[in-house]
């Protein structure tokens, strides 16, 4: 058969009770902390929220207890994180560590690395940045030029990473570096290193995005020396490791839910008896979301079964990010209002105006189809999955 199936996974018992528990926690947290609901996982950074989640056992959920994990299934984790996103909770601080850095260390890291770091991540107190892109290496990740060379007992790293979200407020980065010749495949001679952003002497320079937010950074490695035990996995195995990491980065529900709060706002604005054209527009979005969520759940089911569904994840992310944009566009057309940046319309507190929520999304949308791999790269992955090259 040509094409891809997304069979519904068998959900573990008790998952709906877990869902109810998460909803109750979120309602209380929102009431007490007053965070503003925004379903984009990158919207809001709150160390206190992350620690509260960690205390609940909702970070590192699938990891072994020996490393601070909770030995739950990937599907239970899916239910928790989709509830967090749908509620618009401030999950950014621990997100990368929970999603990809921790699992990478669990799979490839040394015993000492796992013991030192995973319990801190699971507690909600240890955050990670992604050290992949460089000034001359964006979509073409295999072309990275940051070099690590053996120096004394350790490694010396020279080069620059860029678009490094949260490097200024994270504890660690996992950096992809060239440690040997690229070979014919261009995928040889790459290795991943654990970088201590607080102690290793990496120069972190802010890059402000077009929305005026400081998420991105430039990270300069000028003769940064690190001990030998910072190598993650095997020297030269970096490409295999980083593609697995990218599959995790691309496979989650955050690639379909970034604008869910706007879909809820659209439904609210339309009321119980929308006129037919508006009902049609809303119906189109909810039908699309329904299909995407089914696909996203199926990907989680494959992860739980131990597979690495990179092509299926690419399909969901390509379609999901376009859906996210369509939600904002539909809202903009259906509820005519001028989007505003920030809160300059004077709205505040727990209920920012629709105009400022829409404004945040309009300014955020260009990044949704770039972060974690552009949609063009994803489509090439899908084509390869069809046997085409």
């Amino acid at each position: 058969m040509t094409g891809f199936d997304f069979p519904p996974p068998v959900m573990p018992p008790g998952v709906e009770a877990l869902r109810a528990e998460v909803r109750a926690f979120l309602a209380q947290s929102q009431a007490e902390e007053g965070w503003r609901p925004d379903s984009d996982f990158g919207s809001d950074w709150s160390a206190s929220f992350s620690r509260a989640l960690g205390a609940r056992g909702w970070i590192g959920m699938t990891w072994p207890a020996a490393y601070g994990g909770h030995e739950r299934s990937a599907l239970e984790r899916y239910v928790v994180i989709e509830e967090l996103l749908a509620a618009g909770a401030p999950v950014y601080a621990h997100w990368v560590a929970d999603r990809q850095s921790g699992p990478l260390l669990l799979r490839f890291g040394s015993e000492a690395q796992r013991r030192a770091i995973l319990p801190r991540i699971a507690a909600g107190g240890c955050y990670f940045a992604i050290g992949m892109s460089e000034p001359d290496s964006g979509s073409d990740l295999a072309s990275v030029r940051t070099r690590a060379v053996r120096s004394g007992d350790g490694w010396r790293i020279d080069g620059t990473k860029v678009w490094t979200s949260n490097a200024h407020r994270s504890h660690y980065m996992i950096a992809l570096c060239r440690t040997g010749p690229a070979g014919e495949s261009r995928h040889e001679g790459l290795s991943q290193f654990l970088i201590d952003l607080e102690g290793d002497g990496v120069e972190v320079n802010p890059i402000v995005n077009l929305a005026g937010k400081h998420d991105f950074n430039e990270c300069v490695f000028d003769g940064v020396t690190i001990p030998a035990d910072r190598l993650i996995g095997r020297e030269g195995d970096g490409w295999r490791q980083v593609t697995g990491e990218l599959a995790l980065e691309r496979s989650g529900p955050e690639r379909i839910l970034s604008t869910f709060h706007l879909l809820a706002a659209l439904v609210e604005a339309a009321g119980p008896a929308p006129e037919p054209r508006l009902a049609e527009a809303i119906g189109r979005l909810v039908a699309e979301f329904y299909a995407l969520r089914a696909m996203s759940l199926a990907v989680a089911g494959r992860l739980e079964a131990g597979a690495l569904p990179d092509v299926e994840a690419a399909i969901v992310k390509d379609m999901g990010t376009r859906f996210e944009a369509e939600v904002a566009e539909t809202l903009r057309r259906a509820v005519p209002l001028e989007p505003v940046a920030g809160d300059r319309d004077g709205a505040g507190g727990n209920a920012p105006s629709l105009a400022s929520a829409l404004g945040a999304s309009v300014l955020g949308l260009p990044s949704f189809t770039l972060r974690g791999g552009t949609n063009e790269i994803l489509r090439s992955i899908i084509a390869r999955g069809l046997g085409v090259r």
Binding site: A264, V267, A273, P276, A279, I282, G283
Partner: protein, 344 residues
């Protein structure tokens, strides 16, 4: 039912339709009923596949797997209609007549004005026509006063007068919606046709060379293939999820999503095939015409979008998320339509 049984049923259906469909399409094009293909299908017992296991079937998912195979091979037979009419008869406690069955449902203008039913699939060749009426009535009629019509793919779509008393009449249980069931069945066929359109397009792009290399080496073409694969996958996922969740919302979403994808896939499949795919001689049109026809049958995407969009607003914005989760979760809503939930 085990995954293994499900695969076996789909494989049986796939082999059967692969063997029979080409000649059957040629017969139908000449206005003849493809009796040989029908007999081969009837002999397998697959028309009963969607029935609950305790009624001799293998459940809704198995029925949808058969319909997927029928769509994949553009089988010109009333497979979906017979299967769903059989399922509805079972739900209403009626005996399903033998032979090919037609089924009239009420999604969008198909129910005519009360004295006729319109564009009934396969009515002229059916041993009986099952008519889903208002308020869950189900009647069986012998085809009479049929005015022949066809869909874009040349499949019979006939108007029929509802004159005289029906041969049998019954009532569907409240949780069994014949219109939604038939919409899901059509979505399953659409999904199969999409798979074949994708397979043909991938193969053609890999074999056809221009500018000294296969079309598939061009990134623009690769992206068309990726889009077809994504649209087909989304349709398939929506159908599979509906079979699992069995909520009215899920059934409607499956048909909406598949109908939406059908046009995109047909357009891109033709774009990649170029002029050869636009000929009567090339096989592609057997599938693209079905995509164009089936997307508008049993309610097109706009029809179901309006239904879903109105449903979605019932609880306001705050209720949207819990509603969507419940709609996608088995056992949260009194099993919309089908099989195992419906008692005879």
């Amino acid at each position: 039912m085990s995954d293994e049984t499900l695969r076996l049923i789909e494989q049986t259906a796939d082999d059967l339709f692969a063997a029979e469909s080409g000649a059957a399409r040629a017969a139908l094009a000449k206005g003849e009923w493809p009796e040989g293909a029908w007999q081969a299908f009837a002999a397998t017992g697959l028309a009963q596949a969607a029935l609950p296991e305790d009624a001799g079937g293998a459940g809704l998912a198995a029925g949808l797997a058969v319909l997927r195979a029928a769509g994949r091979h553009a089988a010109p037979l009333p497979v979906a209609e017979t299967m769903m009419a059989t399922l509805l008869c079972h739900a209403a406690g009626m005996e399903a007549p033998p032979g090919p069955l037609a089924l009239s449902t009420t999604a969008a203008g198909e129910d005519g004005d009360g004295s006729t039913v319109r564009r009934v699939p396969w009515a002229r060749f059916a041993s009986a026509v099952a008519v889903v009426g208002p308020e869950g009535t189900l009647t069986l009629r012998t085809p009479a006063d049929v005015v022949e019509g066809a869909n874009l793919a040349g499949e019979p779509r006939d108007d029929m007068a509802l004159s005289g008393p029906p041969a049998a009449a019954g009532t569907l249980p409240p949780d069994t919606d014949g219109t939604l069931l038939m919409a899901l069945a059509r979505a399953a066929q659409l999904r199969g046709a999409m798979e074949q359109a994708l397979a043909m397009t991938v193969r053609y792009a890999s074999e056809r060379e221009q500018f000294g290399r296969p079309l598939a080496r061009f990134q623009a073409i690769q992206h068309h293939l990726a889009e077809i694969a994504g649209e087909a996958a989304a349709s398939g996922a929506a159908v599979d999820a509906a079979a699992e969740a069995r909520t009215p919302f899920a059934f409607a979403a499956a048909k909406a999503r598949a109908s939406q994808a059908a046009g995109t896939i047909a357009r891109l499949a033709h774009q990649v095939h170029g002029a050869i795919g636009y000929t009567a001689e090339h096989d592609l049109h057997h599938w693209t015409k079905r995509l164009w026809a089936w997307r508008d049958e049993c309610g097109n995407e706009a029809h179901w979008w309006r239904v879903l969009g109105t449903d979605a607003g019932q609880g306001g914005g705050a209720a949207l998320w819990p509603m969507l989760v419940a709609a996608g979760t088995a056992g949260t809503d009194a099993a919309a339509a089908a099989g195992e939930g419906a008692r005879p």
